[in-house]
């Protein structure tokens, strides 16, 4: 047994009392084996691994009990200097966001060679040679030239390869990977997962793979533990767990993963509520000094009452399309909403139309004013647009809260008092308050846990049906799009690749790019 963790309990001692983050957790990993740890945010899956290496802040964190035998030695009994010898040498880590996990002030090379220099006493020249070899092995092209590049000169996927190379440079025995593909596009995710799998087999590496994404874990892990509120609720081999889940929570998690296609009837209406023709949005590129086309000659119709999915990888211009339609960024071309051409309108002439077109953003915490209560947030659009009077506004706000599934008692609460899912409900409430006809939703469920995501998707569906809304649903998550949208359009490098009915697109993608995208989707 490479690592054997028994009865690990970790508490955080804060001014507001003691919280148990990890409660009597046990797990084990062998060499050449991948253990998946699955759970939603706050389930303690990361803390349980970080604490083994002394990487949680202590205080307030405290290991209350437990042992963690790594090759027979108890990690939890080690002092900081002994732990330092283990970290980055025998046990290495990779993290979620390669954008923020590499030091922007140091070159890739400087960061790559550090473990060799501090753990293995390499000189700089040998370390550099080894680093370049490993960069090549993890799929970084022109490794020797890129050794002296800075992190910002790499794409997200390439940075994660750098992180992996850095983790593996000392030939560790155990790799802890904390959501390593969550911040990446689906095609890049597939490449990184393949790389992890390949390296694990080749080097007989033990891997702990922490993820909220059940499909990814299913495709990768040999065995899985499911965590909830600091406790392990179920453990089994991957096959058995996914085919025959025992615990209620595991079933709930699996059930929440969007799968299959939208079942509701097709939209019969054919009237285009929104007509977009030859839309072009250009930005000034600071690096080259040349204009850069974020949206390049895109044309489509959004039919009254439909949910049109807009998918693409990061940087494809999908969010910019939404913003261009709402005139939040300057664009050229033709955007007709209910027969009115929008792009030529002044901001003032646009104002009455804004009531009829609303937007929902990815991060409800950032898009809600922290100093406004639910009442203030929901009452504001009603009063500004003259849809309510001082006398009627409270009743209307309460009705709106019922609509989006918020408890009426919460009316005087502030955004920070809510969970992420409830905050997204507030944001949706604000968007539908003015009874708009079109909603542009920009990744509205991407920041949410899978069970919450399911609830919000159901809410969106219900609202669309109830109010006969039309929606442009921007997302990178293809499974979500498939479960929600009537039609889907695919965007690559600002250009429209393909637009079709959802099922037709899934079953018979015509374009090569769409086919690649579909092939990269992991499934439960």
């Amino acid at each position: 047994m490479l690592l054997k963790v028994d009865n690990l309990t970790i508490q955080f001692h804060t001014r507001n009392g003691i919280t148990t983050a990890v409660d009597n957790v046990s797990f084990a990993v062998n060499s050449g084996e991948i253990l998946g740890i699955v759970g939603e945010s706050g389930s303690g899956k990361s803390v349980s691994c970080y604490s083994l290496l002394g990487l949680i802040p202590m205080p307030p964190g405290k290991v209350e009990s437990g042992t963690a035998l790594f090759e027979g030695q108890d990690l939890l009994a080690m002092d900081q200097s002994q732990l330092r010898d283990v970290r980055g040498d025998d046990v290495a880590m990779i993290f979620q966001d390669p954008m923020t996990c590499l030091n922007p002030f140091l070159t890739i090379g400087e960061q790559l060679v550090e473990p060799l220099i501090y753990h293995r006493g390499y000189n700089k020249k040998d370390a550099k040679q080894r680093a370049i070899e490993l960069m090549g092995e993890t799929g970084i092209k022109k490794a020797a030239q890129r050794f002296d590049s800075y992190p910002h000169e790499f794409s997200g996927g390439m940075r994660q390869r750098v992180m992996i190379a850095m983790a593996l440079i000392t030939e560790p025995k155990l790799l802890i990977a904390d959501e390593p593909t969550t911040a990446l596009d689906v095609t890049i995710q597939a490449q990184i997962l393949e790389l992890v799998k390949e390296l694990q087999t080749k080097r007989d590496l033990g891997v702990i793979f922490i993820s909220h994404d059940l499909a990814v874990v299913r495709g990768l892990a040999d065995k899985v533990i499911v965590m909830k509120e600091g406790q392990v609720v179920e453990r089994n081999t991957t096959k058995a767990l996914f085919e025959n889940p025992q615990h209620e929570y595991t079933k709930q998690l699996l059930d929440a993963v969007p799968s299959g296609a939208k079942t509701a009837g097709k939209v019969s209406d054919t009237k285009a509520l929104l007509r977009v023709r030859n839309l072009v949005t250009e930005f000034y590129d600071r690096n080259t000094g040349k204009p850069f086309r974020a949206v390049d000659d895109v044309s489509f119709d959004l039919i009254q009452g439909e949910i049109l999915g807009l998918v693409g990888e990061s940087g494809s211009g999908k969010s910019t399309i939404g913003r261009s339609i709402l005139k939040l960024v300057p664009a050229r071309g033709e955007v007709t909403f209910d027969g009115k051409e929008l792009l030529g309108l002044s901001q003032k002439a646009m104002r009455p139309i804004r009531r009829r077109m609303q937007m929902i953003f990815q991060d409800p915490y950032a898009s809600l004013n922290p100093r406004m209560t639910v009442f203030d947030t929901l009452a504001e659009p009603l009063l500004v647009q003259g849809l309510a009077t001082r006398q009627t506004v409270e009743a209307q706000v309460l009705e709106l809260m019922d609509d989006v599934g918020l408890a009426r008692a919460a009316i005087k609460k502030y955004p920070h008092e809510f969970s992420g899912g409830q905050r997204q409900r507030i944001a949706i409430g604000r968007a539908v308050a003015t009874k708009p006809e079109l909603i542009i939703a920009d990744e509205p469920v991407s920041a949410l846990d899978v069970t919450i995501q399911k609830q919000i998707l159901e809410l969106i569906k219900a609202l669309v049906d109830k109010h006969n809304l039309s929606m442009l649903f921007v997302s990178h998550d293809l499974s979500v799009v498939r479960a929600l949208c009537d039609r889907v359009m695919v965007i690559e490098h600002g250009k429209l690749v393909e637009i079709d009915d959802t099922e037709a697109l899934w079953m018979q993608p015509k374009e090569a790019y769409t086919q690649r995208l579909m092939a990269a989707i992991p499934s439960v």
Binding site: P104, F105, Y118, R286, N287, T288
Partner: protein
Amino acid sequence: MLRYTLLRLLQAIPVLFAVITATFFLIRQAPGGPFDAEKPVIPAVKRALEAKYNLDLPVWQQYTQYLGDLFKGDMGPSFKYPGWDVHDLILSGLPTTAELALYALLVALVIGVLAGVFASLKPNTAQDYIPMSLAMIGICMPTFLLGPLLVLMFGFWLEWLPVTGWGDLPGDKILPSITLGAAYAAYIARLTRGGMLEIMSQDYIRTARAKGLPEWVVVTKHALRGGLIPTIAFLGPAFAGLLAGSFVVETIFQIPGLGRFYVQAAFNRDYTMILGTTIFLSTLIIIFNLLSDLLATWLNPKLRSQFRGGAV
């Protein structure tokens, strides 16, 4: 980078122009003139003096004439030091003041950065509170109080260091430099602490720790480069401030620097001297601000590559 620098320099022209204009007219609003002494001067002599320095012309004409001369690089003669040009007076005091300001800046940097980093390593503990409280005192304490206190302690009680002069006795540069640098050390300590705390909470510091690097490497190699950027951006304004603010220290320690010209010129209504020193110091402030901004930008690899691309 070049385009940005040129743009900044161009922006400095209206600023300087405004400074010159405001100073020129404000100083003439002050009661009295350069040739009003305690002992009345014979009116004929005074008229002759005023004619010699063009003070008998209408104010706007004096103004255009001054601007014209300035454009040719001539700051005019001093009214109070006959035979001296403003230009020469400034240059005579500058080396001493610049040296003093430089030492004070070094004192401020060494003490400030060390204290700031030290405090940031254990935030909200005694290791943080003690140096930061001292820094607060440093900011609050005026130099005319700190200077005499240091003189009393190190000059008279301990008799370790000389208390006047500049370059006459060994060690006579120490007390003035510390007196002048103390407040800036305190500012730098606070800036450094803030910058370091920001960086130490970044994900890449966790990565560095996960690699098993010794803590001193994490701090000096991974955190300090980013953490010092606010401090570096402050160096320019600080150096300019030290040059301009050396008067009190120069007076306490009897140092023949620039400060005395600046202040005495104001008392004496030495119009050209006031204008000259003001223009000189404003130019320095603009240049040093620009230099430290450029340095801080260059230290950030991402911004540096944008500069290389020629944009901005």
